[in-house]
């Protein structure tokens, strides 16, 4: 499958080499794991989903270092600095997604059995439906288990730094072509995909097969299918609904993290999973493929999927597919999920102190990466380095005693929770008259999809900000960049919560042929607009000891950028202590 994707192939080789060296007992030339014969399944309890069964195959992966390292990575990064109980890990999230994914799958099998009978005739050449269901379920659960395997310390914060590794960027571009949809946002997903493609994982599963108690491990999974599900694409257009269960707007990932993050943080947010399960359906859809990504994918997998000509259903050549849909009867659940997502962004992910802590960590990691590169570390070594890092790594001398005092200093601040303060900022919609246009124009540049343009808009403010800081205090450093680093000062413009492809997900009525956009029955655009208009914040942070100076300088810098001469205007952006 990776034959035409050199960067994905290379990352997979790097991971194989890393796993063999780092964990020889599991993945080396003469592995000793699993030591004993395996049980066919074990029961694991979860605070959200209760008692759940995991198969020998899932246990093998779960008990390997690939998943075990996730025990030391907090699901919500540094959010525990604001919500002390939000200390749940990526590990329990992965188990939760596995449970929820199979509950969705089981619900579909129970309520649409005829569909799976038809799939068995088409996909498995007339084999028994039960065998097909077992294989698809196993592949789905394995994908759910591995979907976050590529995360590093403090989850999404380190993912920001993955963007500074060109090999991962190139691999993400290839993954986009392979999957036929954009995979540029979360580089951790690239690593999860490549980990699932390693020989290490395949060999581990093969060894496990021979270690079953009764020696009767004849069921098989196709790891290419597992890997594709992780990135939201199925190995056959008919089973695209499986990929939707793992990666879509109402996927098992979201169903787990919304409840888990809220419950762990102590926020009383809920949605009705039972209603979701009793209404979710598989429906036919036409999937266009004008750029021929899917054609190449199916050919590489040896899948004989019929390609339809352009016509009434699509203006492009396309495949008949089956996708996951929520019917109109699920509207109340959709509302709850949308509200939960907005609330979590506002309360947790975009909380000012969480943004401050994560911004500080991102700066620390970027400095550390620079120093590792100066010491001769290339992209491949950096990828391995990030797989070694877990949240407790912040306490390692590698960071606490780093020769770059920015790294060690920021590390000390993070460990002792001396976080920067929000000193200045605005909600783009808070102004009226002429000023509104200027601030909205500036915000439109801060949110440009082009990372370089966004960085340029931020730099326009930060350069002026840094120079003003230097004017007031020469002791902050030699350059404006140093002044900002010393003062722990930056401008923060986060990306807003998204609801990708939401309009493709809703059926008109349960079982109806003509799906309708969600926005036709639920005013999602107006909700997004109304919510973000009041909750989307552009903020300026600085360490407390520099806050007074930084506030004056931020006003001057903003005046430089916006070119409005009105003291009251800038005073209104100051955040009181």
């Amino acid at each position: 499958m990776l034959a035409n994707y050199p960067n994905l192939s290379r990352v997979t080789e790097v991971l194989d080499s890393y796993l063999a060296t780092r964990y020889p007992n599991h993945f080396g030339p003469e592995p000793t794991h699993p030591f004993a014969n395996l049980k066919k399944f074990k029961v694991i309890h979860d605070n959200l989903w209760g008692t759940n069964r995991f198969s020998w195959r899932e246990l093998l992966v779960m008990d390997s270092p690939i998943l075990q390292r996730l025990r030391d990575i907090h699901q919500t990064g540094l959010a525990y600095y604001v919500y002390p109980s939000a200390r749940h890990s990526r590990f329990e999230h992965c188990l939760g997604v596995t449970t929820v994914a199979s509950r969705v799958f089981d619900s579909l099998v129970e309520r649409q059995p005829e569909l799976f009978d038809n799939f068995a005739k088409t996909l498995d050449g007339g084999g028994p439906t039960s065998a097909l269901i077992q294989r698809l379920r196993s592949e789905l659960r394995l994908a759910a288990l591995l979907h976050d395997a590529g995360h590093s310390m403090h989850s999404h914060t380190s993912e920001l730094v993955y963007s500074d590794i060109p090999m991962l960027q190139a691999a993400a571009k290839e993954l986009t072509k392979l999957a036929g949809h954009a995979k540029n946002k979360g580089k951790g997903e690239v690593l999860s995909f490549c980990l699932s493609q390693t020989r290490a994982v395949r060999d581990l599963l093969a060894r496990g097969q021979t270690k079953l108690l009764d020696g009767n491990g004849t069921d098989v999974v196709k790891m290419d299918n597992v890997s594709l599900l992780i990135i939201g694409r199925s190995g056959h257009p008919y089973t695209q609904f499986l990929a939707d269960i793992i990666s879509s707007d109402f996927d098992a990932d979201k169903l787990d993290y919304l409840l888990r993050d809220a419950a762990s943080a102590g926020l009383p947010l809920r949605y009705d999973l039972e209603r979701y399960l009793s209404t979710v359906r598989v429906e036919p859809e036409y999937v266009a493929d004008d750029e021929q990504h899917l054609l190449r994918l199916y050919e590489s997998l040896g899948v004989a999927a019929k390609r339809e000509s352009a016509g009434a259903h699509s203006a492009f050549e396309h495949y008949d597919s089956f996708v996951l849909r929520l019917p109109r009867q699920a509207m109340s659940t959709i509302e709850q999920i949308v509200i939960c997502k907005f609330m979590l962004y506002s309360y947790i992910y975009h909380h000012r102190k969480v943004r401050a802590a994560e911004g500080l960590l991102a700066r620390l990691l970027r400095r550390a990466v620079c120093s590792w590169r100066s010491a001769g570390m290339g992209d491949e070594a950096l990828i391995c380095k990030f797989l070694d890092l877990v949240d407790p790594s912040l306490h390692w001398p590698e960071f606490t005693a780093h020769k770059d005092n920015r790294v060690s200093g920021y590390c000390g601040r993070l460990i002792t929770r001396q976080l920067p303060r929000e000193i200045f900022g605005f909600v783009p919609n808070m102004f009226t008259h002429l000023r509104a246009e200027v601030i909205k124009d500036f915000t439109s540049r801060l949110l440009d999809p082009d990372q370089k343009k966004r960085a340029a808009a931020i730099a326009e403010f930060e350069e002026s900000f840094g120079r003003e800081l230097l004017k007031r205090n020469r002791g902050l450093g030699e350059t404006w960049e140093e002044a900002l680093l010393t003062a722990g000062a930056w401008l923060d413009a986060p990306t807003a919560p998204k609801f990708e492809n939401v309009n493709l997900m809703v059926g008109a009525r349960s079982g109806a042929d003509n799906p309708i956009p969600l926005s036709s029955v639920f005013p999602i655009q107006s909700w997004i607009q109304a919510y973000e208009a009041h909750r989307y914040n552009v903020r300026v942070f600085a360490f407390s000891e520099y806050a007074d100076d930084a506030c004056i300088c931020a006003k001057a810098a903003m005046k430089h950028v916006l070119k409005i001469d009105d003291t009251e205007f800038y005073d209104s952006m100051v955040k009181p202590r």
């Binding site: 004008d290 203006a315 915000t443 990306t495 492809n501 309009n503 919510y531």
Partner: protein, 130 residues
């Protein structure tokens, strides 16, 4: 700003600021936006911005979807650059002051010609949805 420098966001703003009164920019149904930008990506006209080479579309339904484009239209909406005053959120309109400001930006190279081409296609795509 020329075809080498312009970003997706800047190009969207240039198109939006030139939409004539008789055309309406869709919001609720994003398909015309995606079809417009996919056609522009496939267009071989002079002055095509460089960013189109890397512009990625998702193939998950009957037509291509550009997530970056979708996100940016929503960003322009929730930041108040564009507003959906109509009760159904079918259409968006650009703040007149911003339209004037963006349309006045200096364009160079062959970019103005390509924006003209974009307006021709926008007339077709945006008109179809009404």
């Amino acid at each position: 700003m020329d075809e080498q420098q312009v970003s997706l966001g800047e190009f969207v703003k240039q198109v939006a600021s030139r939409i004539p009164d008789e055309l309406h920019m869709p919001l609720k149904d994003e398909k015309p936006w995606h079809m417009l930008f996919y056609r522009l990506k496939k267009d071989s006209g002079l002055g095509k911005p460089v960013f189109f080479e890397d512009l990625e579309f998702d193939w998950v339904g009957p037509y291509p979807i550009c997530q970056d484009l979708s996100d940016y239209i929503h960003a322009l909406h929730f930041t108040g650059c564009m507003s959906a005053g109509n009760p159904t959120y079918d259409e968006i309109s650009l703040n007149p002051g911003l339209a004037k400001k963006w349309a006045a930006e200096q364009l160079s190279g062959n970019l103005p010609g390509f924006i003209g081409r974009a307006m021709e296609l926008a007339r077709e795509e945006f008109a179809e949805q009404r």
